[in-house]
Amino acid sequence: MAEKKVATKKDTEPKIGVYVCHCGSNIAGTVDVPQVVEFAKGLPAVAIAREYKFMCSDPGQSMIKDDIKQLGLNRVVVASCSPLLHEPTFRHAIQEAGLNPYLFEMANIREHCSWTTEDHGEATEKAKALVSAAVKRIYLHQPLEVREVPVNPNTLIVGGGIAGIQAALEIADAGHKVYLVEKDPSIGGHMIQFDKTFPTLDCSACILTPKMTSAGSHPNIELMTYSEVEEIAGFIGSFKAKIRKKAKFVDESKCNGCGVCIEKCPWKADSEFDLGLSQRKAIYTPFPQAVPNIPVIDKESCAYFLKGKCRACEKFCEREAIDFEQQDKIVEIDVGNIIITTGYDPFDPTPIIKYGYGKFPNVVTGLEFERICNSVGPTGGKIVLKDGSEPKSIAIIHCVGSRDENYHKYCSRVCCMYALKYSHLIKEKTKADVYQMYIDMRCFGKGYEEFYQRLSDEGVTFIRGKPAEVTDRAISEEEKGKLIVVGEDSLLGTVIRVPVDMVILCIALEARADAKNVAQLFSISQGADAFFIERHPKLDPVATMTDGVFIAGCCQGPKDIPDTVAQASAAAARVLALISKGKVELEATVAVIDEEKCSGCRICNLLCPYNAIDFIEEEEVSRINDALCKGCGTCVAACPSAAITHKHFTTEEIMAEIEGVLV
């Protein structure tokens, strides 16, 4: 991109307008606005200072625009809320009045002043200091050109659960190419492990497999299963991704998914898909409806890889698709946008020793129970104890690892509902009594409360209280041989002992163990709960702080399928909007090197986190690629020759601001 020349000399003397906002009583209730206006009038180069109830309103904006036209203002300061909220609003307004949007500055006298300060006098003084800083700074502002870059219409989606599948189909259906990367051998995610879905009770596989098949066969979707993203470079509109396609040891172009290899393989390992409740072969697809229907060889359990012999699969494969020599492959792709849909990990309840998970075989997790209920699961869909008999009573413990300072503070949002769903499945398939041990029933979604009411009517016993322990120490005859759930029934105000045959732990949804790596890879942030953070919790729920990188589904926080699908569609819509626009505007506030001053020391080259600074050997100077520069300013601060200018954050501008706040 061509470097736009920064205007170095001012065409005219600065003529500054200062506008102080009341924000109703949010500012005016604490800050003496007229006093601030009077103060501003006395600052150098200030042509006019005014106050108004709501500067961001249409009349407020018109006031500024009129003054620009009538008074010939060429710089505008608005003292109101945080620039993170309304800087774009006012930049747009002055642009409409013919000014360059960078000839604008905001003084944050609400969040940083009126809202945090109790004393009116102190607040007014602080507001004056902030206005003074803005005025001093804007005196030096220069017009900047906003750069545009084209958007590559291809999209990378990371994670092939329901969120990834949904987003991929939406974008692909709109006619654009999608790379759908999934680390497991099949797409489907957690949803394909579930039996029924609440509150409608339709079968999870029945509603998901058609979508999986569409994703698998869509001409615009390139499935990259058993693959992981290793490296991301570039920026919105033109990312470069390196994908590691792990060796499946099966040639995808030859395999027709007949399954003979799996049948003939004599070696077994615990099935990850069934959470170790059943076994799979060393060459396997995770589940029968896998997409793509191509098996992989697990080196850890394959006798050939372990001991050097067997190759049974190879012998029986008529298509000669088995390839023991296959290596991991690194594929490079160019995309314009990225959607991250990496989902969640189920919480491991082992550390809650008192609940006996891992100690008592009939204490199972919610996800394990999904598999037990599932007709293609380890028990063929029969709800049975480890000894094969049918349970006569089952306790379901809510909030295991959720709403608990010792594990996760947050509510996992789906447990109440899946617990109710289990009640229904148990009542449908067995005669067992069901006890729900809950803290609060949170049935907030459409049709959820109705589902709760329906289940209440199906004869489920609700006991309010978080159980203290699950024990096998009986204190009466009827407790013998049972698991006794002990806790307080907080509605009764007494200790309650519930002898049951099976205990289901409603385990929390937690951020993926590798979420930190993913966050760093894509330059997005994690919250205190380790889930990825959206750009704004209400108004920008699927974007991230990195332009062109979107998030959807449980990687952003626990949520149910409807919410996940809604987010996935939202993320897809955002991507499609960018594709349709065809170009994006990049921040103009980048760094530039004055090659006259550059000594060629190369300190900046090493500092730049984006590798945006190249050293030009023949000229012995460094040069910044402004498409890659994100404008952090680190190089500027480090340059020993003061040869680098950070546009809009020049040393002079910041110095002026320091002077300003110290009035």
Binding site: E111, W115, T116, T117, T634, A637, I654, I658, V661
Partner: protein, 141 residues
Amino acid sequence: MNFEPKIVGFCCNWCSYRGADLAGTARMKCSPNVRIIRVMCSGRVEPTFVVKAFELGADGVLVLGCHAGDCHYSEGNYKTMRRMPLLKKMLAQMGIEEERVRLDWVSASEGDRFVSIVDDMTAKVRALGPFKNNSKEAKHG
């Protein structure tokens, strides 16, 4: 009249400035002594900014960035982290007490932490008393 210190605060755009905004949005009360200057990254804070602030009459300088590993620009805050001890050494030679300069980390969700850092810093600088601008005298002397 009681001495009220003037403190210049540099906040990065992505974490600490948002943390400061959150303190406001949540109506937490804090000392009004810290006046914030927004930079894109704490890595942009040049040692000369700090020196300049003292020259112009600041009694303290607070630099806030993202927590380690959270930098929007990957590692800008690490650069600040390395730069600061050097700067403090230099400031010490100029007769500026160590407590007058503080580097700390505030995330976008830590409004409460922002408030406690600001209050703590204000109290410490208030206890130290006004900065006498010895550096200026030293320079000129």
